[in-house]
Amino acid sequence: MSPGPAQALAEGFPDLQGLPVARRAHVGRWAAAALIVIALLALVRAFAKGQIEWSYVGRFMTVPAIVEGIVNTVVMAVAAMALGIVLGVIVAVMRLSPNPVLRTVASGYAWLFRGTPVILQLLLWFNLALVFPVIGVPGLWSGRAVDVMTPFLSALLGLGINQGAYTSEVMRAGMLSVDIGQYEAAQAIGMSRLLALRRIILPQAMRVVIPPLGNEFIGMVKLTSLASVIQYPEVLHSAENIYYANSRVIELLIVAGVWYLAVVSVLTPLQMLLERRFARGFSGNAR
């Protein structure tokens, strides 16, 4: 795009060489930014003058009950998501199986657990003792359901099994996104269906499913707050217990909100690391 001066002169065009490139003014951008800054300032002012004791927010950020609560939140989110992913992979593989029995069971599972509210499922697991006073494996072990179905186990089963139903669809979409030729190539070197899934299809599906799974994980961090209704001591539960005592409702809700935001903020870079790991071979300059 830089015609030689001789050529430009010869054709009667002005010589462009050496001319500086002017910057665009971007009036719209500046105007929008100014409006947003004004709106933010107004918002900050409103909250500063509102009836919020900010000193309480600072003080309760790190009290043991709240810190324990956020640790419990993270533990539950990780455990329930892990259970959800394991179930999701198994159910997705079942749904793509040639075996009609497995396919039907898998569809039934997704139908049941996606079709009912997760809070209802949590309450059912927690109150399992009303249906089955004693639970266990015949001949191996048994116990009273009230002792077995602790808030932790109830929340883990409720959230994890529900998550598995959603994750199975994410995993299925990922597996369907892998070219059929990959499966044929795996078969052609003598791989069984399951070996091909494990070595060839799932690693490639991971690349596609990590963004939606990250989405689901962020959702799960917040979904754990529902476990407060079955007495699981996650951060919202702790915040509620404190404001029942001291009536600082908004301050403690802000404390919990800031903690949720902090956890979710840490997850985003972790997701990027994972994405890079599974993108191996998919860009021209891999490694």
Partner: protein
């Protein structure tokens, strides 16, 4: 004549209303190269895919190295083999695809070593040396650490050939191995296949490369509309065809 290494007998296959193969019978002797030619939709790729059981035949039988493929005769009835038994039968054949189908998340070396390590359960270290030798054999010793996306089409197809050879197949199947390649990359893949033919590998090649067929094939088969129209030595089928349909096809391809 000894029993043929591959015997295809009265094989038919339909996909819904489309009849891809009609009563096809064919023999391939060990150590020979057979080229399948014909227009697209003539059934040549389907026939190839029946041999390694990516396609299940509707009727007839295929015997490879003395074994009936995909089925078993037990007390007067045909029983389908299990998936594991079919996977074991596939080990006798190696397949090279038109679109390469390399595993994109693995390096060239990992692609070649994957089968021996995961399917034959051999030691990764010992397989590694062998895989490097195979890559050298297809002229890609220096590309072992590259991912498929970093290789040209011709290089990818040569890795795919090495990957198939790593399983030590007795029969190599090539499904239009050069059709997806830029013209200047066709030669390098054909050269590898010629070397393979010289080493007495039994091969079935679906191809539009008539020059390759003329030079390398022991026999050429022309297919049309799911049937074998003409078969014989390359000089006869390609040079002096008897059937009008073969003549029409050849003049269309060459012009």
């Amino acid at each position: 004549m000894t029993q043929p290494f591959l015997a295809i007998r009265n094989v038919s296959k339909a996909f819904g209303q489309f009849r891809a193969l009609l009563n096809v019978s064919l023999d391939v002797q060990a150590g020979t190269v057979l080229c399948l030619i014909g227009a697209s939709g003539s059934g040549k790729t389907t026939l190839l895919r029946c041999v390694n059981q990516l396609v299940t035949i509707d009727s007839g039988g295929i015997w490879l190295d003395g074994d009936l493929l995909g089925m078993q005769v037990k007390s007067g009835r045909l029983h389908r083999l299990s998936e594991a038994e079919i996977a074991r039968q596939r080990l006798k054949t190696g397949m090279v695809f038109q679109r390469f189908n390399l595993f994109p998340h693995m390096t060239a070396l990992e692609n070649v070593a994957e089968g021996p390590v995961q399917v034959h359960r051999r030691k990764p270290l010992e397989v590694r040396d062998e895989a490097l030798e195979l890559l050298a054999r297809v002229g890609l010793a220096d590309k072992a650490a590259n991912y498929p996306a970093q290789l040209s089409g011709g290089q990818q197809q040569r890795v795919a050939i090495a990957r198939a050879l790593a399983m030590r197949p007795k029969l190599m199947l090539f499904d239009e191995p050069t059709s997806a390649l830029d013209p200047e990359l066709v030669g390098e893949v054909l050269a590898v296949m010629k070397e393979l033919a010289r080493s007495q590998m039994t091969m079935i090649v679906v191809t539009h490369e008539l020059g390759f067929a003329r030079e390398v094939a022991d026999r050429v088969v022309y297919m049309d509309a799911g049937r074998i129209v003409e078969e014989g030595a390359p000089s006869q089928v390609l040079g002096a065809p008897n059937e009008p349909r073969t003549k029409a096809f050849l003049s269309a391809v060459i012009s």
